[in-house]
Symmetry: C2
Subunit: 292 residues, 2 copies
C-alpha cells in the first residue's frame, strides 16, 4: 500500500580511522575502518511533491544533497518533497550526507511502496555516496548502528561488518568544516596504510579504548590533524579521558565526559543501539499493516 | 575493565518459514528463511557467582538452558550466576533458547571484559544452539533485529542476511509447546523444499504481507500445521487479517490487530528495531567508560 509520505531516522556516524578502497563499481568501493554511530542523527521525510517540482529542505532552508537525488532517481519515485532535519554539524565528519541518502532511500521505499529489501536500499545509498565522493563507509555503518567495524569495503553482499559490543556516552565539539572530497580525491596511500595498521590493532582487541588509541595513531600517521583538533585531543588525554579526531571533519569526539572534564562545552549523545529505521507513527502504521 | 555483572536484552524471534542446512561445523550450519524479531524478548543477567557453584534461574526458578552453559564455557568465564527473564512462552517458537544463549554471550563478555567482537559472540551463541539442536536461525536473526531474511545459513562471516524494511504491531497466541528437536531431528527434505519456495517468493517481493502468504504456504506444504493453529490462522484470514504459524511452536502470530479482530485474546508487541544489545544503566556505564 502506498502512503505517499514516510520518515526515516539515521544515526550520525563518526569514523575513528579508515583505509580507502576505490573500485570501478560503486557497490564494491568503500572503506575499511571503525567508528561510532550516534543517537544524534538525521531525520528524512519524503512525501509526494506539493508543487510541480519537488522541494529540497535542509533544516528548513532550501538546500539539495546530491546523493539524495541520486537515490530517488534510482528508485524511480515520482516528484517528491524531501525534508532533512538534523542537529548535527554539516561537513564536519558526522556522515550527514550518507545519512540523508540512506534516510531518503528508506522513506521513499515506504512512502511509495517500492518493495526493495533493506540490503538493496543500503546499496543504493552507498553507491550514491561513493559516486558523489562524499563518503565511503558511513552508509553501511549507519545502517548497522552500534560501533561498526568495516572489515571489508562495499555495499551489503560485498562488504563485511563486525562491531564492538559497547554502549557509551559520546561527547563532541566541532571547529568547522573539512572537505571529504578534497581528502578522498588526493593521494590516499599513506592514509590507507595507517588505516590498515589501526584496523589490525582493533581486530586484535575489539574494545572502545583500543579504538580511540588506534584512532589517535591513525590521525598522526596520516597527517590529518589540524591544530584545534590536536589541542582538544591532547587536553582530553591530559584530563584522563579518551578522545580522537572525527574522519573527516574539524571535530573531536570523546568517550564519557572526556571533553567536559577537559573544560570544553561539548554536545553529548550516546552510541546508537539500532541503526537506520523508519519512524512512522504507530497509529498510521498499524492501520496500514491491516490493509497492506 | 571488569564489572562482574551485566545485562543484555535479546528480542524474541518468530520464524515464518525456513529450510534446514545441517553442516559438520556448527558455525556453517543453519537455516535459510525469514521471520520477525519482537520487542517482547529475553533479558539475561550474568554476574560473578554468589555461591561456590553458579546459579541458573529462568523467570526466578532454577532451570538451566544448555546453550547458555556452552557459551559460558566457550568464553572461559569464572563461576557465574545467570538469570534469564522473559514474558515469552517457552518452547513455543519464540527463540527463547537462542535469545538466552546470545544474551549470556553479550552479558558475560561485558561483565568479565572478555574482549570479543559482536560477530564472535553471535557465532558462539549460534554454535551452541546448533550443537544442542534447539535452533538453526534464531540467533543470527535476533542479533540483527527487524524482519530478518536469512539468505545463507550460518554464523556471521559465513551466513548472509537481508531484511524487510518494516515496522508493525505483532499479535500472538500460543496453544502449547512443540519440540524443535523432534522436527529438526527428523527428515527435513520436504520441509526444506517448501522453505526454499517460500524464500524465492519473498526475495522477489520483500514485503510483510508476502512473507505471511509465503509462510502459510510453507506450513501447509511442510505438513506442520496443528489443528488449533490452523483454525486461528483461518479465522484471522476470514476477518481480513494476515496470520501464520510460528516455526516451531503451537503458536500463531498476526500483523496489526489480526488476532484481536478474529476474536482471540492475544499478546501484542511490535517488530524490534534493533536486535540484541547490552542494557546496562547509563550512570554505571558512563563511569566505566571513563576508566575503561
Amino acid at each position: 500500500m502506498s502512503r505517499q509520505r514516510a520518515t526515516a531516522f539515521v544515526p550520525g556516524h563518526v569514523t575513528a580511522f579508515f583505509s580507502a578502497h576505490p573500485h570501478d563499481r560503486p557497490a564494491a568501493a568503500g572503506s575499511r575502518g571503525a567508528g561510532v554511530t550516534l543517537t544524534d542523527g538525521v531525520a528524512v521525510t519524503v512525501s509526494a511533491a506539493a508543487g510541480d517540482d519537488g522541494a529540497r529542505l535542509l533544516d528548513g532552508d532550501p538546500d539539495a544533497i546530491g546523493a539524495v537525488d541520486d537515490v530517488l532517481d534510482a528508485l524511480s519515485v515520482p516528484a517528491v518533497d524531501v525534508a532533512v532535519e538534523t542537529d548535527l554539524p554539516i561537513g564536519s565528519g558526522f556522515g550527514v550526507s550518507g545519512a540523508a541518502a540512506l534516510g531518503a532511500a528508506l522513506a521513499a521505499n515506504r512512502a511509495f511502496d517500492c518493495g526493495r529489501s533493506e540490503n538493496e536500499l543500503v546499496r543504493l545509498a552507498h553507491e550514491a555516496e561513493v559516486d558523489r565522493g562524499t563518503g565511503l563507509g558511513d552508509v553501511v555503518a549507519q545502517a548497522r548502528g552500534g560501533v561498526p567495524i568495516r572489515l571489508e569495503p562495499g555495499a551489503p553482499g560485498i562488504g563485511a561488518l563486525d562491531g564492538i559490543p559497547a554502549d557509551a556516552r559520546i561527547e563532541y565539539v566541532t571547529f568547522g568544516e573539512l572537505s571529504t572530497e578534497s581528502v578522498l580525491g588526493g593521494d590516499t596511500t599513506a592514509l590507507s596504510a595507517a588505516g590498515a595498521t589501526a584496523l589490525d590493532r582493533l581486530r586484535a582487541d575489539p574494545r572502545l579504548p583500543t579504538m580511540m588509541t588506534a584512532a589517535r595513531g591513525f590521525a598522526r600517521s596520516a597527517d590529518l590533524l589540524v591544530p584545534e583538533v590536536e589541542a582538544a585531543v591532547e587536553a582530553v588525554e591530559a584530563a584522563g579521558g579518551e578522545a580522537a579526531m572525527a574522519m573527516l571533519g574539524r571535530t573531536v569526539f570523546a568517550l564519557g565526559t572526556g571533553l567536559s572534564d577537559a573544560g570544553y562545552d561539548p554536545d553529548a549523545c550516546r552510541i546508537h543501539p539500532a541503526g537506520a529505521r523508519l519512524v512512522d507513527g504507530e497509529a498510521v502504521d498499524d492501520e496500514s499493516q491491516r490493509s497492506a
